[in-house]
Amino acid sequence: MTRDGPMIHPYIPNSVPAIKEQMLQEIGVNDIEEFYEDIPTELRLTGLMNLPPPFLSEIELRRHVEGLLARNRTADEVLSFLGAGCYQHQVPAVCDEINQRGEFLTAYAGEPYDDHGRFQALFEYTSMMGELLNMDVVNVPTYDGFQAAATSLRMASRLTGRPEALVCGTIGRDKLSKIRDYCQRAMEIRLVPYDPKTGLMDLKSLRAMISDRTAAVYFENPSYLGFVESQGDEIAALAHEHGAVCVVSVDPISLGVIAPPADYGADIVCGDIQPLGIHMQYGGGHGGFIATRDEERYVMEYPSRLFGIAPTRVPGEYGFGDVAYERTSFAQREKGKEWVGTAAALWGITAGVYLALMGPQGMVEIGEGIMARTYYAMARLAEIQGVRVPLFHAPHFQEFVVNLDQTGKTVAEINRALLARGIFGGKDLSREFPELGQSALYCVSEVHQQRDLDRLAEALEEVVR
């Protein structure tokens, strides 16, 4: 601090000495130190913390931060084929406009009176998600799709009183890690093997593993590895036969063209809303949804807030409020269901804006468009000698596994070479799924033009040669 005199900071209005003085006087206290009387001296920090010197003007701060950020190269600047749980899609400007409005951005947890807008926007979000998912109950977003899946399983465990979940073997290892940690004391997580040809759940194994210990059978559509799990109806039927809950995680962007899991028997549907109008933000744009039928026993197991619609004393006025608040940890502390807290409400509002913009037709077109590009990309890559694509014989949506074993090169080597050509190759799966050899998970979306896909094919051909 080289400024003379005491620091008067723009963020701290009462840092003005005279104002401070006046307030102390009114309280009848001599020194701010007195307020800290309860903190024992031995716990008091002496002197200032050792922090970097601040940038007190915005221009200096901006120069510093933008200077750091300049070292990033973004997925806009490089041609990216990364997905694996975080997706590059068109983010409509209206989505940003709304979530940047101070009224939403800086609000928190007010009453439905002063925060009517938040309640209505989130009710509309859940309502639109309900249409997309063909389900009647949707939560106010939890943190992310990982959390949504983990909580869905625990809901199933509470619903059934059973200690085990059967999970498709193609689940991503990070998500599995989250689920394992989260369910540790509640249920055991067992992986159901997948068919190495199709990637689909091995129903024979499922039949062998399922029992009256099984709380839930869980799978994903599209799966983490990009193919469509087409046995949903059979898996759900099996689960139900054994009194288990069928939990399906789904990418909402696929639901304009792919059947919603409720249609093939899912009881709890979960997933991540990041693809719905939310920037990737280096993985900071996630929000989790959970949806069920409107059955009391399901509803009562949600830990999240659920916003319902209600009349007010003025006829025709929409009011909103918490449904079955007593479920929650806000009401019941440890007796509530799991917990509730700050999560991803702003992304829920944003996803609502996105769905309202897209409408039915938009969702159909984007789903179809992604599939078309995916199939084109697969076809182009399949022309390259030594490249096996898609590795799995099943329908695909958006992502697909490219096996490179026959090129004699590792994914890491190939990705390095692609990067040199301005391309982010697919996610390296070789550590996550060693059984797939040198494989990479490629992702294609509506952001890709034909020339991008051609460019990828040409570069990959060069690189594997």
Partner: protein
Amino acid sequence: MSEDILRHRYTDGRPNLRRFHQARWDEPIIFELSREGQRGILVPEVEPGIRERVGDVLGVLPEKMRRKKPPALPELAQPQVLRHYVRLSQENLGTDLNIDVGQGTCTMKYSPKINDQLARSPKVTELHPLQPEETVQGILEVMYRFEQILKEISGMDRFSLQPGAGSAAIYTNASIIRAYHRMRGEQDQRDEIITTIFSHPSNAACARTAGFKIITLYPDEDGYPDLEALKAVVSERTAGLMITNPEDTGIYNPRIAEFVRVVHDAGGLCAYDQANANGILGITRARDAGFDLCHFNLHKTFSTPHGCGGPGAGVVGATEELVRFLPVPLVEFDGQRYYLDYDRPDSIGKIRPFYGNVSVILKAYAWVMSLGAEGLRQVAEIAVLNNNYLLHKMLEIPGVSAPYARGKHRIEQVRYSWQGLTEETGVHSEQIGLRAADFGVHYWTSHHPWIVPEPCTLEPTESYTKDELDEYVAILAHVAEEARTDPEKVRTAPHNSTIHTIDHAPLDDPSRWAMTWRAYRRKVEGKGEA
């Protein structure tokens, strides 16, 4: 000469109450605005070259996996979508708008616009988390630098920036405590977590979710956490202590180090819920009181906006001994480059996808860098000054009290009680809050259970002026006076808000509740698809 307008705005030199009315747009539910065929945005078309090659690509889907009819989303053109949401936004009261001291414990401080602007840079928003590390050195450096800052502020040895908000961080702490005892082979034995009733409910709830039994301590007569009670409950079953300090009452536990010692002596770990460390930044540190774990809410203490309830970030700090358990990955620096370290076999694993709410982290970093050590200390001191000033003023309102620790000062917030007023007038805390809404401010009762009767919790932070604090008190004083002179007005409030008193009954009635428009339509009309 005209009469001076100002004359009517002040009485005895003090501003009269604000004649407020919130925006009221009476907006329909968005489905009501739908008209078939309208489009809000177009998606890029499939190019002919692609189309030729792939043909009817939906044909690859088995019939049963194809969606039969398009989702019944509303159909609106773009201006109407925008207008609808802009109107809704005006019906929402952010910190940018109101004297947001009424959501006590939530630390509704100023979120600087420059930080939002920086975090909106495509250099942040358009990064994919799996990009090669060499293309994300900038953002990794931000994360790394921010961790160093957090270490200094808390005294802890390492931080994970991963958890999505405060409760997720508390859960992470519980998971780490669990892992620690498992490593020591005591996982079955040590199944109790101790907390206090004035610690945030998530301490109890998250620990319970992690599988622990919860023991909740109640305060002593003076409102301080009860050391004797603690001593009575610790045992070889004690896994750990998870508490807030200062507690929701605003009271700092002066025997905090002893609490920690007692738990340590019993073989437990201690996790410090510092979601809200606003009043003690640069004053006292978690490590110095002996804690093994702590967390901060970046969306409270570190100024990032609350976003209607997220995204936030809860960063978890650990002592050297517990670092091994932190979630993967950690951000490392080898002197040349920043990288993500996944090679951490004892880690509890993943708490969320990737590395945390990175934009939030960037905002928090920028905030610290705009204040420095002196600035952070001033944040704490002024927040505490504001709080004690507010306390002083509040206690001048007949019917208000601040139970516990009488005559003492508080740190960052105060839990007040309107019991006196309720006894006198029959008007309840919640009603006072709804009437306060008529003057354009938030008001929050308190977390359950209401140990303090007819509670409300106010937390002024460092961001409000003396005049704003005076205005807030004047509003509550006015409402308290109304409770005496015109209680019906208070009971039927709000009058100047977007809507009027809600009939809450359907929200707890399974036959009537409706969490989606489709459910509502079905229930009230028997319409819609099941």
